[in-house]
């Protein structure tokens, strides 16, 4: 005589059911409580960008910064340098007077991350390989941080900025609606906001217009265009006096005379000291204010400027000035970024995708549920209950782990529905076989599960293996697909194997009494 039994299987299943309902509900309702499944950009619309950081530029700029520090220190210590020149691999220094060698050595040993090669009075300063790696890595981390800061200040809802691989950055901006917004966001991200204060080469500025870049380089100078009039060139000293890394604040203000927007910036103590020293020593000369390699203004220095503040004027629009100030405040990008991949999906397309996949999902689910009942009778109903719990669990787990639901992810759910019943099909077929052999129904159920187990475990594990490969090598939507598939499979082990077994055990008395045609859709020969 068998009785209804409440086994651990049933209890686990009921707990899973409760868990599924509890944590999937927020995703179905409009309320703000609880974690929801977040929709991928392909479903809600927005802008997706993959940027790569030009780490080589970061290394060059690091070399230049070191060069500028060496120049500052040698000037300060009255070390006579014949030539100080930075190239993309290192810095060449030639001393005029051998007596200074010891003091230069002292300065150089204080700089970390460089190797110094000496050849008489000629020095070559190179970055160590480790320093190059660190610099590249820092450039990417800093770019992530900077872009995140800029987008936060831009006022968009939930921007995502994350590092991908060695030198790439993934940016997702949901809720970008117009092309103009998109353009502004992209400009803001791309702006290096590299502020440099550079000395104009007064000796040769007069012939700058006819000079080419190689000639300029021969003098240790750079040719830069004027921001407003690109044809006009400035010849400036290649090594900057200071750069934006010493900047602490940048605000939009208005020029008293012209009423045009300008940007006021403030330097930190170190920057202020350098700025003061330089302006004090160079009264009467011009100082170029360079932003992203364009000269915005080159005022003459009237007196020593202490306090470390300056301004950039350049006929900006208010919006432009605001974006530049944001970019300056959140820091310069050490290295420029390239756009590798950009996808923008309009909000109406996203909505259409959701609507269509919802229709497909519900219709597909209904067909599968009907088919199961048609073939397996009441056993099919139990399999369907397990399937519904499976889907609830899938949504609950996705919401809890913050996984993103994408369009292929929706397809993944539908596929899970099609394939999740597979475990129950295998089990029910085994039970039918045993019933045919004439065993009693209780034995059939127990042995049916036993016999089916190895096939189910092997097939599910191999599917998980392919999902893992898909996750490891996939990007974006494909990753989303792999995630939904994997969660669906793991959840189906819980519901389709444990859950249905628990329900069978609980109902075993009823099954024994009822007709097996109703239960398994299979006629037992009696007698």
């Amino acid at each position: 005589m068998m009785r209804s039994r409440i086994t651990y299987r049933l209890i686990v299943f009921i707990l899973a059911f409760a868990f599924g309902i509890l944590f999937s509900m927020p995703s179905f309702t409009d309320s703000q409580n609880g974690k929801k499944v977040s929709l991928g950009l392909d479903l809600q619309g927005g802008l997706y960008m993959l940027l790569s950081v030009q780490t080589e530029s970061a290394i060059i700029s690091k070399i230049k910064t070191i060069a500028s520090a060496i120049k500052y220190d040698t000037d300060k210590n009255d070390i006579l340098v014949d030539r100080l020149k930075a190239d993309e691999n290192g810095i060449n220094i030639s001393l005029l007077d051998g007596d200074d060698a010891k003091r230069l050595d002292e300065i150089l040993t204080k700089i970390s991350g460089v190797e110094v090669q000496k050849d008489g009075l000629n020095y070559r300063v190179l970055l160590t390989p480790q320093e190059k790696i660190d610099t590249s890595k820092y450039a990417v981390d800093q770019a992530v941080e900077t872009i995140r800061n800029r987008l936060d200040q831009f006022g968009l809802a939930e921007p995502t900025v994350i590092k991908q691989g060695e030198d790439k950055i993934l940016v997702e901006l949901p809720g970008i609606k117009s092309a103009a917004d998109e353009q502004r966001a992209m400009d803001l991200i791309a702006k290096s906001a590299h502020l440099q204060l550079m000395a104009v080469d007064e000796k040769r500025q007069d012939i700058a217009q006819t000079m080419n870049e190689d000639e300029a380089a021969a003098y240790g100078d750079l040719l830069l265009s004027d921001a407003k009039n690109p044809r006009y060139k400035y010849l400036v000293n290649e090594i900057p006096i200071l750069d934006g890394s010493m900047l602490v604040d940048a605000r939009v203000a208005f020029d008293n005379q012209t009423n045009m927007p300008i940007i006021n910036f403030t330097l930190n103590a170190q920057g202020a000291a350098k700025f003061g020293d330089f302006t004090g020593a160079n009264v009467g000369k011009r100082l170029a204010i360079v932003l992203d390699n364009r000269v915005y203004s080159a005022p003459s220095i009237n007196e020593r400027i202490g306090g470390g503040s300056g301004q950039i004027s350049g006929g900006f629009s208010i919006e432009e000035a605001r974006d530049i100030a944001i970019a300056l405040r959140s820091g310069a990008l050490i290295a420029p970024v390239n756009l590798e991949e950009k996808r923008s999906i309009g909000p109406s397309l996203g909505q259409q995708s959701i609507d269509q996949s919802m229709v497909a999902l519900s219709l597909g689910a209904v067909l599968v549920l009907l088919f199961m009942v048609l073939v397996y009778g009441l056993a099919g109903v139990l399999a369907n209950i397990a399937l519904v719990v499976n889907i609830l669990l899938l949504i609950a787990v996705m919401a809890l782990f913050g996984a993103t639901l994408t369009l292929p992810g929706m397809a993944g759910i539908l596929l899970t529905i099609g394939m999740a019943v597979d475990a129950n099909v295998i089990i029910n077929e085994r039970i039918r076989e045993l019933l045919k052999e004439g065993h009693n129904i209780h034995t059939c159920i127990q042995k049916g599960y036993q016999n089916a187990m190895s096939a189910i475990v092997d097939s599910n594990l191999t599917t998980l293996i392919t999902s893992a490969a898909l996750y490891a090598y996939g990007t974006g939507p494909v990753k989303g697909f792999a995630v939904t598939m994997s969660i669906g499979i793991i959840a189906s082990m819980l519901t389709a194997i444990l859950g249905t077994h628990g329900m069978f055990e609980f109902l075993s008395r009823k099954i024994e009494r009822g007709s097996s045609v109703l239960w398994f859709g299979y006629r037992i020969k009696r007698g």
Binding site: E341, I345, P408, L414
Partner: protein
């Protein structure tokens, strides 16, 4: 509802040569197609720009748009095709610009501004470097999952099972790729996801049949392989068909109601499920005999294994008794 007579053993292996001929035709036909027609890489893998435009309340003036594009030096090779309905088009060209400042969506919007009321619904730009990176990763995903599966089945079953499964997987992937080439479906990330799903599905099928073969080898009254295979396939036939039907029901709804974005994905899935189901029976199973799988040997192996296990238990029992 009962579809097949449970007791009956069908002679599947009797028609294996017919099925094999069909398979070989499809397989080599697919390879020929891949070499001649080739695959149509979407911008995900080839790099390029794709813009989707939907016109409101009217059909897209494709001829007008083509004329406009033809007069632009960079865009004159753009392909402009209808997408889903007559009011929606996709514009595709292979050039991209590295600079962030370039905004093809705005550019095209400006170019088409007097062609009617429309909306730019999607702009995808994939740089050539990323395109090739995505392609490499895609191929790696397929290879890595095949190798992992080979190892898993080798450990859980036997090396002949693993080889047979992998050959049947390769067979499926090649034929699906052939179908993709034949139907000129764009190969993009979604397509890759579909191919890998097909791989997983077909493998499921194969493993369930193999699991039965492994079980029947021990218990069957048949001693030669084809008898065991016929019996195993017949016993799993209801399951194979049931699952194919439920999965097909899901994928076919996706095809009809899932929208155009998912069309390619669902076609590949439908073909893949059919091919995968057939190959599990007619490619994977008979291949066991090609690798000289012998029922008697395997039985002996299993018996030896069982004996070793019993021996171990005996020793353990004696050891435990000895301690008591």
């Amino acid at each position: 509802m009962q579809i097949f007579d449970k007791g009956k053993i069908y002679n599947f292996m009797g028609i294996r040569w017919v099925m094999f001929a069909i398979s070989a035709t499809l397989f080599f036909g697919s390879i020929a197609l891949l070499f001649t027609k080739g695959l149509n890489y979407g911008i995900d893998f080839a790099g390029g720009t794709l813009i989707q435009v939907k016109y409101h309340d009217k059909d897209a003036p494709i001829d007008l748009i083509r004329d406009k594009f033809a007069s632009n030096e960079i865009l004159k090779n753009a392909s402009i095709t209808e997408f889903g309905s007559a009011s929606e088009i996709t514009i595709r060209y292979t050039t991209t610009s590295d600079s962030l400042g370039n905004n093809p969506g705005a550019f095209v919007a400006d170019m088409l501004k007097d062609s009617g009321e429309f909306e730019i619904r999607r702009v995808d730009v994939v740089g050539p470097k990323i395109g090739s990176e995505l392609r490499e990763k895609g191929i790696m995903a397929v290879i890595v999952s095949l190798v992992l599966i080979l190892i898993y089945i080798g450990v859980r079953f036997e090396w002949r099972f693993a080889l047979a499964a992998i050959f049947s997987e390769i067979h499926d992937v090649v034929i699906v790729l052939g179908a993709i080439s034949l139907l000129s479906i764009d190969v993009n990330l979604d397509t890759l996801a579909a191919i890998l799903t097909v791989l997983g599905y077909s493998l499921n099928d194969t493993i369930i049949i193999f699991d039965r073969i492994r079980e029947r080898v021990k218990e069957s009254k048949f001693i030669e392989l084809f008898g065991v295979i016929n019996e195993s396939v017949s016993l799993t036939l209801s399951r194979t068909l049931m699952t194919s039907v439920t999965t097909l029901l899901a994928v076919i709804t996706l095809f009809f109601y899932g929208g155009d974005m998912i069309h390619g994905f669902s076609i590949i899935m439908i073909i893949g499920i059919l091919i995968g189901t057939i190959s599990s029976v007619f490619i994977a199973a008979p291949m066991l005999s090609w690798f000289r799988f012998s029922v008697e040997e395997y039985r002996a192996l299993m018996v030896a294994k069982e004996l070793r296990k019993k021996e171990k238990e005996k020793i353990r029992a004696m050891y435990e008794k000895g301690r008591l």
